[in-house]
Symmetry: C2
Subunit: 247 residues, 2 copies
């Protein structure tokens, strides 16, 4: 199933088979996008939302000079712009990192889903709230940590999220961000990102290869360095709470 990974590892009460099927059937089209391609632009009027099947997408705001600030990042299993369903336009831009495969879901189909499956509607709401929770942690990251900590914190988040959807092999980060991307995510220059990576390498925490690949050498030290607490990702079993309430 194309939408197999939606909220994987996140919901204590999983979606029902019929809900999963309904979501799957709501997909109108599967699209493959080239690297560094804009999918949705700020202000654009929206009729569809996109679910990311494979690849990485970057969400960013641009300043007057055209400099980007990443405000979010999506991996397999994420709805990229589900909030567009309720807001009808986006306040930021969305584009691919590498090549990506997305499922296009018309808002009309989502409206039907939401009407027919209240619990699925709740799950979709929850999924947009997860984005908000991550945004908050991004604010913390940029506001309270130094450059090295910011990069470490971002990578820690990525590792945790990749684990939820079974995309982390315990060694290499399968998200080919450039140092410039890390810089744009962390509110620093790419020169400084480079120097921070150098220090992280010297500490034996990770090994950034020149080509965007990053090998994780010491995951525990990585988490420690940036005081990472992943509870904001609302994973299963984090706490014994029935997220989404009872059926």
């Amino acid at each position: 199933m194309r939408t197999e990974l939606f909220l994987k590892g996140r919901l204590r009460h999983d979606l029902r088979a019929e809900e999963k099927r309904a979501l799957e059937d709501a997909v109108a089209e599967v699209i493959t996008l080239p690297p560094r391609t804009t999918l949705v632009e700020r202000g654009e009027r929206l009729e569809n939302s996109y679910y990311l099947i494979e690849g990485t997408m970057l969400r960013h705001l641009d300043d007057r000079k055209g400099e980007r600030q990443l405000v979010g990042l999506n991996i397999s299993g994420d709805f990229v712009d589900l909030h567009g369903f309720a807001m009808k336009r986006l306040d930021h831009n969305v584009g691919t990192l590498g090549q990506a495969v997305v499922a296009k879901v018309p808002h009309k189909a989502i409206a039907t889903l939401v009407d027919q499956f209240p619990h699925l509607a709740r799950a979709m709401w929850f999924s947009t709230l997860l984005d908000a929770a991550m945004h908050r942690e991004w604010i913390f990251r940029i506001g309270r940590l130094n450059a090295e900590g910011r990069i470490a914190h971002l990578i820690a988040e990525l590792i945790d999220r990749l684990k939820f959807v079974g995309k982390y092999d315990g060694n290499e980060l399968p998200v080919p961000l450039l140092q410039r991307d890390y810089a744009e995510a962390c509110g620093i220059t790419s020169v400084h990102a480079n120097r921070s990576f150098k220090r992280l390498r010297e500490r034996g925490i990770l090994d950034p290869r020149g080509d965007g690949r990053i090998i994780i050498l010491d995951e525990a030290a990585l988490y420690r360095l940036c005081e990472f607490d992943g509870s904001y990702l609302y994973g299963d079993g984090e706490l014994a709470l029935e997220t989404l309430g009872d059926r």
Copy 2:
């Protein structure tokens, strides 16, 4: 009505009278809180959400050393932790700035509302998405602007939001944040916040009185300084779009 200001100025299609009444009736209790009081703590299990009738509330994450990073701020008309309804616990802390009056709304009552009034449910979803949009802009603010710009940008947002709910008189900011609060919101120290305010005063943009009051001298220059574009606040008439879709 206590919940009169909910989404005021935000929805092109207003809520219906019966929806407003239902929301009003969902309020279990009205509570007055003293200044600098914690209302909800990170991780706490939630059974209620709170709607802010009067006052200001601060949402923050704390680092290891107990230093705060504000991740959001609420004024009259905001649901402070509506996302708690779908998430069942918060990932951040919420407390009052000055004295505040809140309406307590049990999650059970919200569940009923959501079942009975699909359009209201959509509006509530929308309201949590507005929070996310503001979070994104906070990331931009901290990541891309210098200290002076960050403070200006925060104040610009506040002015726009206060205008939506009719709480801005065109002169003075009715939100008694201390310089320390601005610092915690902007990811800088309070000493540096002080120096930034000094410059903003020298530029003739605003006049910070010693007691937390801030007089806005040149609103246009304020917006210009921080390249403020308030479209992320999704005000009425921003664009001719039917936010929330048709009924």
